[in-house]
């Protein structure tokens, strides 16, 4: 453990370079062979250490693809039916981390795309930066994302190519699980106070919805009036309802990529809600989101003998 020395690099930077080389070689090969029309990946951002999504269609752009700790975006977002039009027609290749792969598998499971329509380049991902991180320095205990501290999907499975290899990983404390346990130990009144405070800051920019691969409804329930289900103005009542509805609609589907939490300008710990739902569904129905497409999610299926101890 190097928890005290917070700026020490915790992961060998060479592994990111190896993944970058593997992604570039594969992207060039695919584009030159005409196997895909585009490669959805990352390129370096303007500021040092950052990265941004890139749709590579030529050899020149493919040579700019990278993988670095700044590659936070979940690119599976671009593959839902609603957003697929932004990409060239035909088969595309996509660069995914383990958590993004779960989202991609979820989209395939929900018939948003077919497995054979996409060439999946998985990355052996040791971790990426969290939201407020100094991206000019290598990944440290301080700057690593909270989701990466307890990641179980460093190595993608069932992909067409795994780029890079996993370096030895540091042993980090699971901050998010600890926070979840802390909240669960509170009384309902304390939890209500906690969440009311969090939700009262929400400005309803809906970035969490925009960035979520699973929020692909063409008309969101929360935007509708007549009848209006959720108040649309950024006031406490509507905010609370919005976040409850969002967590409910993601239950059993959320891949845990924590993009909602990363993009939230008000730093609301949204992934706690997602994780809570995932935990409950595992405890109730033994369901876990996986890297392979699954036919059914727990809330779209049932068993005759499901628990009904709460029903009179």
């Amino acid at each position: 453990m190097t928890e005290n020395n917070v700026t020490t690099p915790i992961i060998d930077p060479a592994c990111y370079a190896a993944a970058t080389a593997a992604i570039r070689a594969e992207a060039l090969r695919l584009l030159e062979a005409g196997e895909v029309t585009a490669v959805v990946g990352y390129r370096a951002g303007r500021r040092a250490g950052t990265a941004m999504p890139e749709v590579a269609v030529t050899a020149e752009t493919a040579a700019q693809l990278i993988f670095s700790p700044g590659c936070q975006n979940n690119l599976a977002l671009f593959l839902s039916k609603a957003k697929r039009d932004a990409l060239p027609k035909g088969k595309v290749a996509i660069v995914v981390k383990g958590c993004d792969l779960r989202a991609l598998a979820g989209l395939i499971g929900e018939s948003q795309l077919k497995r054979e329509e996409v060439h999946v380049i998985g990355v052996a991902c040791p971790g990426v930066y969290g939201a407020p991180a100094d991206t000019s320095k290598p990944l440290s205990v301080e700057s690593i994302a909270r989701k990466c501290r307890e990641c179980k999907v460093h190595l993608p499975e069932g992909v067409d190519l795994v780029a890079g290899t996993l370096p030895p990983l540091p042993d980090l404390s699971p901050l998010e699980a600890e926070e979840l346990a802390r909240l669960e130990a509170m009384t309902p009144q304390q939890r209500w106070a906690f969440w009311t405070e969090q939700f009262s800051r929400c400005i309803r920019c809906l970035a969490c919805r925009q960035v979520c691969p699973f929020c692909f409804c063409t008309q969101c329930l929360c935007d509708r009036n007549r009848p209006q289900a959720v108040d649309t103005s950024p006031r406490p009542a509507g905010n609370t309802a919005w976040h409850i509805v969002r967590a409910m609609h993601l239950a059993g589907r959320c891949s845990g990529c924590a993009e909602c939490e990363r993009v939230c300008p008000m730093d609301i710990p949204l992934n706690l809600l997602n994780r809570k739902m995932a935990k409950e569904l595992f405890e109730l129905y033994g369901f876990e989101v996986e890297m392979q497409p699954q036919e059914q999610t727990p809330l779209t299926s049932y068993r005759d003998n499901d628990d009904q101890s709460f029903i009179k």
């Binding site: 009144q189 304390q190 289900a229 509805v245 239950a251 809600l273 409950e280 628990d307 709460f310 029903i311």
Partner: protein, 166 residues
């Protein structure tokens, strides 16, 4: 014989979301059998418990319900074969979410009441009414709703104070 009507300081408002095939018919049976149950409950009829979106429950609380009852057919009796099985999973997850956000689950009751169980309907409603009566009014959601709502009165002390500080 009518039981003597008791007077209480607080009469809770309950909203019951029921399915039309079982619980609504059960409540109807209770009525036609001249059974007595608290008039605190407002029944909203749905085709099936599978049609009851969790957002309805939220909205009921926000608009002033002190307790919510969701009731439908027993498992296996659904008119649409599997609506209540799906509802069972959905509500199992939803009540855990509400609990995590800090809502008192004693205000939310789920039940299976068939068309023949007029007596069970009376029991369920009476019990929930008494329980919510003891808990008192549901303040949490109503406070949220009232927050940052301006009364539109120009002589509000709050507004005056804000005016003077500018």
């Amino acid at each position: 014989m009518h039981a003597e009507k008791q007077h209480h300081d607080f009469e809770p408002k309950l909203v019951a979301f029921v399915c039309t095939w079982c619980t609504y018919a059960g409540a109807d049976l209770a009525g036609t059998s001249r059974m007595h149950y608290p008039s605190n409950v407002r029944v909203v009829k749905f085709p099936c418990t599978g049609r009851i979106d969790p957002v309805f429950i939220l909205r009921a609380f926000q608009k002033g319900a002190d307790g919510v009852l969701v009731s439908g057919c027993h498992p296996g009796d659904c008119h649409y074969m599997a609506g209540n099985f799906h509802a069972r999973r959905r509500f199992a997850a939803f009540r855990q979410l509400l609990d995590f956000v800090g809502v008192d689950l004693n205000r939310l009751q789920f039940s299976w009441v068939s068309a023949a169980e007029g007596g069970k309907w009376v029991d369920v409603v009476s019990e929930l009414t008494e329980r919510v009566r003891e808990l008192g009014p549901m303040r949490e959601f109503r406070e949220l709703d009232a927050e940052e709502h301006w009364s539109a009165q120009l002589n509000e002390p709050e507004l005056k104070e804000a005016y003077h500080t500018i």
